[in-house]
Symmetry: none
Subunit: 409 residues, 2 copies
């Protein structure tokens, strides 16, 4: 908790809001503090070209593949102090405990901090882990620009990373035995169910698109109701539909689909004009690619039905299309056994949010451990997790690391 709070003070502002955007001075400082802590703990520190930090603790067999555990230190704008650091400091504490207690491990252990997990600056998420997994493609960088106009591509170039050597940071899967990530839930489920630990089955991925409804702007006083082409009333019908259809696909079996219209912009957007144009930002997620894609299709289809009925135009702009990532079943079984042994109250659950684990899962077995978020709040200064739960999560992470390091998976 002392180290977690030390990291949490870097970039702290009004009302406890923490802002450490990727490649900002604050974020770089948090990485330097971590390097210091790793060295203090006797770990061998390696930093790759993008800035991912690996702190290695040797086991009895230096040639065995390593067990990695970590997360990220960058934050959203005005975020909290636990989203990310809990997994990095939790892994560090696990390795320190193993080291101090001289617990035998065969495989080497590595504490890892990935660069730029949050998309808040460049609209590009899990940057460091994507590069470590060799999953960044030149085209992905095209639209990654921060609000000041700085291109991610130029930042990478200043570090010596070009479109040609994007795969050079890829970690050889043969050097890896597993990746484990402790993280706050960022949702309300564990608290609501009174569980202290969440064991993650898979990571939901979003379909994101914009729907533009094109009606006709008219005078709000002189245009009879039956002569209007109101783009906002059409949007309202679609927004209600999205809630309805997502509720139909909300169950675990149906793929835990959630759908959100997070932003809406109407034009002209004044009190005395019928809205002639409305633009909706839609985010559909689910743990089943099939269900998520079906709901996204239904929503787009319904937009066309509503538009046709009202005699207005419609346009769909796809932003991002990702598939859910299943995590490793054997790691899940192992953590589950550990929870059962220790009589920890746990929940088997998918992750609605994206994490570095979904990139690492592409090159090694990956598992995630969640600890409860108070009132489900995250990306917010009010983000909070009981220190006792953080400790429990770190302990479970430690025991999992030891088992994985010593056993055949």
């Amino acid at each position: 908790m002392r180290d977690l709070n030390a990291i949490g003070r870097i970039g702290i502002g009004n009302r406890g809001a923490v802002t450490r955007l990727v490649f900002s001075i604050k974020e770089l400082r948090s990485r330097q503090v971590l390097i210091h802590l790793m060295r203090q703990a006797g770990l061998t520190v390696r930093i790759d070209v993008i800035g991912n930090i690996f702190g290695r603790f040797e086991g009895s067999d230096p040639r065995a593949p390593a067990v990695l555990a970590g997360s990220h230190l960058d934050t959203v704008i005005h975020g909290g102090k636990y989203d990310g650091p809990v997994g990095v400091i939790g892994a560090l504490e696990a390795v320190r405990t193993i080291s101090e207690n001289k617990i035998r491990v065969r495989s080497p252990l590595e504490v890892v901090c990935f660069v730029g997990e949050e998309s808040s600056r460049f609209g590009f998420s899990t940057l460091g882990s994507s590069l470590a997994a060799g999953e960044v493609h030149a085209d992905d960088l095209t639209h990654a620009v921060d609000p000041q106009g700085t291109k991610l591509e130029n930042v990478l170039a200043s570090l010596g990373i070009t479109r040609r050597n994007l795969k050079s940071m890829r970690r050889d899967p043969k050097t890896l035995k597993a990746y484990l990530e402790l993280h706050i839930e960022q949702g309300p489920i564990l608290e609501a169910k009174g569980k202290r630990i969440g064991l993650v089955t898979s990571i939901a991925a979003p379909s994101r698109f914009r729907i533009i409804l094109k009606g006709r702007a008219d005078h709000s006083g002189t245009t009879p109701m039956n002569m209007r082409k109101d783009a906002l009333v059409a949007s309202a019908q679609l927004i209600e539909y999205i809630e309805k259809v997502c509720r139909q696909y909300a169950s675990m079996e149906k793929g835990r689909v959630v759908g959100t219209v997070g932003a809406i912009k109407v034009e002209p957007g004044v009190i005395n004009a019928v809205p002639g144009r409305a633009e909706l930002a839609v985010d559909i997620r689910g743990t089943s690619a099939q269900s998520k894609n079906r709901v996204a299709r239904l929503v787009k289809q319904q937009a066309r039905v509503i538009a046709k009925k009202r005699g207005i135009g419609v346009e769909v702009l796809n932003i991002r299309e990702e598939d859910p990532v299943p995590l490793d079943k054997r790691l899940l079984r192992l953590t589950r056994e550990l929870c059962d042994e220790k009589q920890i109250n746990y929940e088997i659950m998918p992750s609605g949010a994206g994490h570095d684990a979904m990139q690492m899962a592409k090159i090694t077995p990956a598992g995630m451990i969640f600890v409860p978020s108070k009132r489900g709040i995250s990306h917010n200064p009010l983000e909070w997790t009981d220190p006792k739960d953080i400790a429990l999560g770190a302990q479970l992470l430690m025991e999992t690391m030891v088992r994985v390091a010593n056993e055949e998976l």
Copy 2:
């Protein structure tokens, strides 16, 4: 038409859209052009504290009360070039014609341009005419804020207008004989009925209010559908209800009620967060005060029902509450006689839109003349009226002004 086009070019942008928001540089420039045109026409120009412009042409009896005619030059965002200017330039052309043709008038004539008829900037309509009629109350200013956060009250203060001297601009009714306003219809009725002139019986008035729905901002990926407090889905239900209830009160007998949500703002307003707060700008109008007020009440009531059902908060901020304004019956009879004499195809009709005439009607007999709007379009770059109809309207205005100036009303 030349002068009308000169005004129309001020603030013109893409696709012919005209934007001259009240107190913007563009709007001030249009006022300066008008002052220039008035002086060219030999009128004596007086500008009151808020910026209303009066261009006076003396009749044979300088002590007789004046016949005023005019409208406004400010526009909505991305509006057209005729809403407002047709009445100001039409009145100027009428007085120029009277002057050039040395037509005798007993009463003085005044061409008037009122400041800020549109509510697009501060959500406050007929600002200049309300002040000229002494109809602005200190409380009306409380919620008048533009999207940049500038308070109307502060703008007024910078002109020397405080809560204490709001009545100081009131025009003494004894100095007025009548107010006449030529305006485009801004609706589809004249075109649909094949009429060239509309004679206005009364002006429908709006109830305007903001509804703020307060849910909870949550992560769009981790928050299950049934644990959300989505302020936008709640808004969507209310927007649909407004359309439904207004359709029930749409007939002439039921008071020609129309209702519009013209603006909506959600927070945080990002694609990956459930909207925690939504603010709707609602405008309800009707020619029957009773129907309009009933619908406004039903909408506010429904907002509370929806909020309660969804376990979220609701707040209603009243912006403006006006009653429909009947115009002067004798002026209506006079314009009707003139139309009959000249065999002009006219329609007796209410105005769905608000106009400066509804404020002036509180201190002097007021009348309005409409000319057709193509496809009923207004508050839009496609706003268009046939120049022949504008000319006919201006001529009818001129003849009415002469009659009123020379006759006992």
